[in-house]
């Protein structure tokens, strides 16, 4: 009893690999944020477009993203989409003569899953931010001769992005944490994937995950602190 032998040495030997993995984690998180913001803006414009079909797309995306687990979304992006491709092919192949391939690599599936999630939550952040921007601004922009997209792009959107800057950093932290779910779909180059694979060979579960936890903590701290610095610089007026 109580005679667990810690083997920190063995764990620390893997540190270079884990730091390499941390870079991949950051890469996925950054890409998913950029794509997430773009999709969220697209969804926002869909919602404001007045077209029922486009609004329906926004509602479906946002509600599914916010009401199902991220793990489910990522699993779906990898196994579900591929299965969907096969199911569709089962119909198109005999009738139309072509196959549908929806197989994503683990990296792309993870990125797609997190982006889907990000876009859903960011859309809600943007919606809250838009409420804070008075309608009169759009109207005055329009009366200056701007078209509706121009008024949105030049007047409303910059303010929207600024107001939702802090919620966005929160989402960024979540994106970093969500990369850990990639291991479920055989992603093995990110921080969690690298750690998890080593653990399954050397069984130093506690030591390895403790180190990974510290790296994750440092990463998220760097992100939140630099976001605060950037915010202080950019929005000082």
């Amino acid at each position: 009893m109580f005679n667990y032998s810690f083997r920190w040495n063995q764990a620390f030997q893997s540190l270079p690999d884990m730091l390499q993995g941390a870079l991949v984690t950051l890469e996925v998180a950054v890409l998913s944020m950029i794509l997430g913001i773009l999709f969220a803006i697209l969804l926002t414009s869909f919602r404001l477009s007045g077209n029922r079909v486009l609004r329906g797309i926004t509602t479906t995306w946002v509600e599914v993203a916010r009401n199902t687990p991220a793990l489910f979304q990522i699993y779906m992006a990898f196994f579900g989409l591929a299965g969907l491709g096969i199911a569709i092919t089962g119909w198109t192949q005999p009738h139309l003569g072509f196959a549908v391939d929806l197989r994503l690599s683990p990296y792309v599936a993870l990125l797609a899953g997190i982006t889907f999630n990000n876009a859903g939550y960011l859309h809600e952040n943007f919606r809250g931010a838009l409420k804070a921007i008075p309608d009169t601004q759009t109207r005055s922009a329009r009366s200056l001769g701007m078209s509706a997209p121009q008024a949105f792009g030049y007047v409303v959107m910059p303010q929207m992005l600024r107001i939702s800057f802090l919620p966005m950093t929160n989402q960024f932290v979540w994106a970093i944490l969500m990369t850990s779910l990639g291991a479920v779909i055989s992603m093995n180059s990110d921080l969690f994937g690298v750690t998890d694979n080593l653990v399954k060979i050397n069984f130093r579960t506690f030591e390895m995950f403790a180190i990974a936890a510290v790296i994750f903590y440092v990463m998220t701290k760097i992100v939140t602190l630099s976001a605060r610095l950037i915010a202080a610089r950019l929005f000082r007026y």
């Binding site: 667990y4 040495n9 196994f79 591929a82 299965g83 479920v184 055989s186 694979n197 060979i201």
Partner: protein, 269 residues
């Protein structure tokens, strides 16, 4: 660099220590239950029937071991990667889970003599023609993380310098990915590969070739320091072969044919 949590140990020893010499073997007999870790997405060694009850060669071996000890068996489902953590954390007493007796694992757990030996097969996804195992070069291959075949396969991919290796969390996901074409090929034990091909659940996957690996001897495992139990398990495995139970269960779960020889000429164990 080993540091032991002695402070806890001392206080705990005074609080919980039973009879000084009681080891795991005594504990199991005293408690009346043998808790076995078994992997249940690994037919015919371990799987679940329609009522979610565990069945398979490993399940029967666990029951036999429990019967020999005069206790009742409790099958605890684990995935391949979870087997050893489950053992280390005391959730199970032994793992009857087709565990390859690698030297790396023996650093952490105690390993019995082999109770079964697998040949490993290369299995290709539906629609992919492969002539031999070497056609895996440059392909996307995968296996269950941390297993004997996964470590071999990852090493091959590195040696080839081409292709991609993907580790999955459990055996089921590997075959799911294979049947959906997210993997071009996997390496798995011949018995399991044949069972999965025969089940028809995975589309048109097919066994291509034997993998050129040293036969995969699998052993019962328990905690490293439990010599009494390891000794008992060794004798148990010997008796299973001697009494013909080994051949009987082979026939029941794997099929006709001669079960693998568990001895190696030219060396003791």
């Amino acid at each position: 660099m080993k540091s032991k949590v002695l402070a806890f140990g001392l206080t705990a020893a005074t609080a919980f220590a039973g009879p000084a010499m009681a080891d795991k073997l005594d504990d199991i007999i005293a408690s009346g239950t043998l808790r076995c870790a078994v992997v249940l997405d690994f037919p015919p060694m371990g799987s679940k029937d329609a009522d979610n009850n565990p069945i398979g060669f490993d399940v029967d071996y666990c029951n036999d071991l429990a019967a020999a000890l005069g206790v009742t068996a409790e099958v605890v489902e684990t995935t391949f990667p979870e087997r050893i953590p489950a053992l280390m954390s005391g959730r199970v007493d032994v793992a009857v889970a087709s565990t390859s007796d690698t030297l790396e694992r023996a650093k952490t757990v105690g390993v019995s003599i082999p109770y079964y030996a697998f040949e490993n097969a290369v299995v290709a996804r539906p629609g992919l023609e492969m002539a031999s195992w070497e056609d895996m070069k440059g392909k996307v291959v995968g296996a269950t993380a941390g297993t004997y075949e996964a470590i071999w396969l990852e090493g091959q991919v590195k040696a080839w310098g081409a292709g991609e290796f993907r580790p999955f969390q459990n055996q089921a996901d590997v075959f799911l990915a294979l049947s959906q074409g997210q993997l071009d090929a996997t390496v798995g034990t011949m018995e399991v590969a044949n069972a999965n091909v025969a089940s028809g659940n995975f589309g048109d996957i097919k066994v291509v070739d034997k993998a050129p690996m040293v036969p995969d001897y699998v052993a019962l495992i328990t905690l490293r320091e439990e010599y009494g139990l390891i000794n008992y398990m060794n004798l148990f495995i010997n008796q299973q072969v001697r009494t013909g139970r080994y051949a009987e269960l082979y026939k029941k779960w794997v099929g006709e044919g001669v079960p693998a020889n568990l001895t190696i000429t030219g060396v003791y164990r």
